[in-house]
């Protein structure tokens, strides 16, 4: 039982007092931003990235990971109580969770969400631990050609599962790749797209890009509309489940966990996709589908488990292949790079403490969330009553100081504002910013692998088709693209995303 021996090492790392503290800080902050609308995990991780410079890399990653899965918990709390998803991954929880709350079952809904998430977190931890080592061993055989093809597959896959126009998303990836190679070229030393600005010589910082596109743009967007939030007050009682509720909920929890673990592995997958898929599944197989939307406990249990499992499983491609599959994982790449860790299959063997410590911390973080959050729900609801007009200037302040502190230059803040402007423009044009961020972190790696692959083949592009693993991946890309252009599949996809946004 190698897995458990490794996990034991991991727990040894994750249980040190300092790492426990950072896990706690991470999950608390995650819950906080999950509860608060108007700032998501990507912007929060960007905000906190600068403060992790001085930390050991394990502690930094433990905290940042805690933000991601903590946000799922927080998001479900507001979805149930206020009918407002704090995070996109809890959009479906609103449907039945809030109905349960209206019927006086808010306590049960919160309890099933927390327990389901915890169960999913436990299973997903073991899943990540079992799955990652063989996958990374396999990936160690990859040469530059395989890597290049894998990145193409990862990027295209991520785009297909994201909503919106496919062509626009691919264009956003390419724009991201271009932004990623700004700065000094490692091979030739040439400065590219620097435009005489000294701060650009080292490239554009991920903190500014992410905070501008995801943080500032969102705040500006929120302020454009006059929508008011309606808060329901009152005490939440009976944070537990009846026997009947428990019996109804647990199969949904198990199914959601399974679904989330698998979907989390896919490019573009993660928390959001998993929760939508789980809701659809539960509704399909329910004995009485008409109960859905009226407070069916399965409609909370399934998606809440799935989003947590998905959030954790999406670490697998990152930790084993070095390929981020969603925007949060792109931020994790940024965090690892800052600490001089090249994400990829070698992480398991070269940094075992980091790898297993991070995985073990996920379980610990989940346990903390269950223990801490249920009693703290009153506090989170209080926070929701803080009006947005007081909240966003404070968020801006933290963002601005955070960006400034990376290099202590004003230029970084200006750059972030420029990306904020771009982000607002992209929202108006309905271009999703996530593919851009993925392209941005993969840009330099992709160029390097393309260059090496073609150097080895003496310039022959057929190398990508002659190497079997690479050929299979490229065939996958072509297949995905062909499937997407088939008219009736395109229609179905559009319908599916319409349902999500409705």
């Amino acid at each position: 039982m190698d897995v458990f021996a490794h996990l034991a090492t991991g727990f040894g790392v994750a249980m040190t007092p300092i790492n426990l503290v950072y896990a706690l800080v991470g999950v608390l902050l995650g819950t906080l931003i999950g509860v608060l609308p108007g700032i998501g995990p990507v912007a929060t991780i960007a905000m906190l990235l600068p403060t992790t410079y001085a930390l050991p890399p394990v502690s930094a990653l433990i905290m940042l990971a805690g933000i991601y899965y903590g946000a799922q918990y927080g998001g479900s709390t507001t979805a149930i109580l206020v009918n407002m998803p704090g995070e996109t991954s809890s959009v479906v929880t609103c449907l039945d969770g809030h109905q349960m709350a209206l019927r006086g079952q808010a306590g049960a809904a919160l309890a099933v969400a927390a327990l389901g998430s915890f169960f999913a977190g436990c299973v997903a931890t073991v899943f990540v631990a079992a799955f990652s080592p063989p996958l990374s061993e396999f990936a160690l055989k990859f040469g530059p050609a395989e890597y290049f093809s894998l990145m193409v597959l990862g990027l295209i896959g991520a785009v297909i599962l994201a909503s919106g126009s496919l062509l626009k998303a691919i264009a956003m990836i390419i724009l991201g790749l271009l932004l990623g190679i700004v700065g000094t070229d490692v091979n030739s030393g040439a400065q590219r797209f620097v435009f005489g600005i000294p701060e650009l010589v080292d490239g554009i910082g991920i903190v500014g890009v992410a905070m501008g596109l995801f943080g500032f743009a969102e705040i500006v967007g929120n302020l454009e509309s006059k929508e008011k939030r309606h808060i329901i007050s009152g005490k939440v009682k009976g944070l537990w489940l009846t026997k009947a509720q428990f019996r109804a909920a647990w199969p949904a929890v198990v199914r959601g966990t399974g679904l989330g673990s698998v979907l989390g592995l896919l490019p573009g997958g993660g928390a959001m996709l998993s929760s939508f898929a789980s809701y659809t599944l539960e509704k399909k197989i329910a004995a009485d589908p008409s109960q859905f939307g009226k407070g069916a406990i399965q409609g909370v249990a399934g998606p809440e488990s799935a989003n947590n499992a998905g959030a954790q499983a999406s670490f697998i491609p990152l930790l084993t292949l070095g390929i981020p599959e969603n925007a949060v994982m792109a931020m994790m790449v940024g965090a690892m790079t800052i600490h001089n860790i090249q994400p990829g299959p070698q992480v398991v063997s070269s940094n075992p403490e980091l790898f297993w410590g991070l995985i073990a911390s996920m379980w610990i973080g989940n346990a903390m969330l269950v223990v801490l959050n249920l009693p703290m729900i009153g506090l989170w609801i209080k926070l929701l009553t803080v009006p947005y007009r007081l909240l966003y200037p404070a968020i801006l302040l933290f963002c601005a100081v955070g960006v400034y502190s990376v290099n202590n230059t004003s230029m970084d803040i200006t750059m972030t504002a420029v990306f904020g402007l771009l982000g607002v423009l992209f929202v108006k044009l309905e271009c999703e910013p996530a593919p851009l961020l993925l392209g941005f972190v993969l840009g330099p790696m992709m160029e390097e692998n393309l260059r090496r692959a073609l150097l080895l083949s003496r310039g022959d592009p057929l190398v990508f088709l002659e190497r079997p693993i690479s050929a299979v991946m490229l065939a996958g890309v072509v297949m995905l693209l062909v499937i997407m252009t088939l008219p009736n599949i395109r229609k179905k996809r559009e319908e599916a995303f319409q349902e999500e946004t409705a």
């Binding site: 264009a171 070229d185 040439a190 007009r389 960006v403 504002a417």
Partner: protein, 152 residues
């Protein structure tokens, strides 16, 4: 503009084409190299060309198929959120955290429809104190607390 049926697509295409064109023009001065020995210009030029083509397709699609109108830009939040942050970044090394925070909180609050100046002043003062505690005392960032004549 009657001939643009899908403005969102059309203008997205224009934006992508602009970026693609910039990439192509700027990287044309970089050494291209060959496929086997790529120069610094190879990858960006390929990407720029790709972006230009994709942008053109998206723009043409915007001309032909109907889509929603482009939502208007609302200037007030745009200017007061992004502008304030830029000014904050420029002045904070001299003005110090306290004045900088007061400025940022007060002026950026004006971006909201629900602006109330008394509230903004109070929250500015509280957050200035919090900023000093968190950033200077806690995280020990290299920023002055007070304006230039008084910091050291």
């Amino acid at each position: 503009m009657g001939w643009i049926k899908g403005p969102k697509d059309f203008w997205s295409g224009v934006v992508f084409m602009t970026f693609g064109a910039i990439a192509l023009v700027v990287s044309s001065t970089y050494r291209m190299g060959t496929a086997a020995r790529m120069g610094p210009g190879y990858f960006p030029r390929a990407l720029g060309a790709l972006l230009l083509i994709l942008g053109a397709i998206i723009a043409v699609r915007g001309l032909r198929s109907k889509g929603e109108p482009l939502p208007a830009f609302v200037l007030r939040p745009l200017v007061f959120v992004l502008g304030t942050v830029v000014v904050f970044g420029l002045v904070v090394p001299w003005s110090g955290v306290v004045l900088g925070t007061l400025f940022l909180i007060f002026v950026s609050s004006y971006a909201s429809h629900e602006f109330r100046w008394k509230e903004a002043v109070v929250s500015g003062v509280l957050l200035a104190a919090a900023a000093v505690l968190v950033f200077i005392v806690g995280l020990q960032l290299q920023l002055p607390i007070w304006p230039w004549p008084w910091n050291q």
